[in-house]
Assembly symmetry: C2
């Protein structure tokens, strides 16, 4: 049974798109998905990287092409529930801390699945504490507990160490996957991962 480390944050549409496809892959292959919550903003700071929209700001044709690529990916994988978040960019710090807490409490994948809905299917301003809390309630999570856990020094420290370790391992953005200790960056490498699982 293969294991895939999946470095994850909610901040990018690619988080949603790749999660959905990786879940389908999980259904089809004998594979363990090991989600590792990291702070994309922290990775950018540590590596001096930038979000693509900023990196390629003012570059003619490039952002248009990335839109075409995203649409192509959506079509290919039938992800027609995807909606761009009108509040983009949403600061993911609090909800990714929530992911660390959910990981500690053993329901990380369920948490990711539900919070992604609030980010990229029925998009909300998920960096506003009141919006976050009511989204948690709507998803049936213990919102009071989660809101407290987000301020827990242990949770904060764990997110920082996840993020630092990711950068040490070669990560510069999300999604990043490791399979057989090989790094694959971006949703557009998922077909290679599938090929490895197929063989």
């Amino acid at each position: 049974m293969k294991k895939i480390d999946f470095y994850f944050d909610f901040a990018s549409p690619n988080a949603y798109l790749s999660h959905k496809v990786m879940q389908k892959i999980k259904e089809r292959y004998d594979v363990e998905l090991n989600y590792i919550p990291v702070l994309l903003g922290g990775i950018f700071k540590a590596t001096n990287n930038k979000p693509p929209m900023e990196q390629f700001f003012g570059v003619l044709n490039k952002n248009e092409y990335q839109g075409i690529e995203m649409e192509r990916f959506v079509q290919r994988h039938d992800l027609n529930l995807f909606k761009m978040n009108p509040h983009f960019p949403v600061i993911s710090l609090q909800i990714i801390r929530g992911a660390v807490a959910a990981d500690m409490d053993g329901y990380l994948e369920d948490y990711i699945d539900k919070v992604l809905i609030h980010m990229w299917e029925e998009p909300k301003k998920m960096d506003d504490p009141e919006v976050i809390k009511s989204a948690f309630d709507e998803s049936g999570f213990d919102s009071e507990k989660l809101m407290n856990q987000m301020q827990d020094p242990e949770v904060k420290a764990k997110l920082i160490s996840n993020t630092e370790q990711a950068v040490e391992r070669g990560v510069f953005g999300i999604p990043t996957f490791f399979i057989d200790d090989q790094i694959y960056f971006g949703k557009d490498t998922i077909w290679m991962i599938e090929e490895i699982l197929e063989s």
Copy 2:
């Protein structure tokens, strides 16, 4: 029979790598490859884009990853004759003008095939006129004629118009492919083109 427009310059290792793979694809499918010589530097200037090494200069992990990706591509497609050009970046202006001339004279694909050897198999300083001329001789081209054609206003104008039209069509780098009027950028989209040809 499908037709693929292949916007091409010699300046990037990806030119070599994608040419080699597209030639294999041409052998396997009923497809017409329409190489269109463009000046990568001109595209960068017109779109405000930069070479990846410059775009991601100082970004931790990113260039290392691009090295891994390149190596992975080389392995996958058995392109073990590939060698990084020690004179990189080589200004491609003269040899891509030569491509325009070769196109006018009906031997563009042969020209590309041979000049790529001088760039990325037995790499030379292919922006030095003397080096270029002796490389042409070595490849059996009419070097005198080609050296003159490179200064021909008609050739220069054709390269400019190819480049401008590419940018108008959505190009921001090379290799860029169009199939069924859909744009595909980069060697890492070739698998999608193959999928289209397969279907």
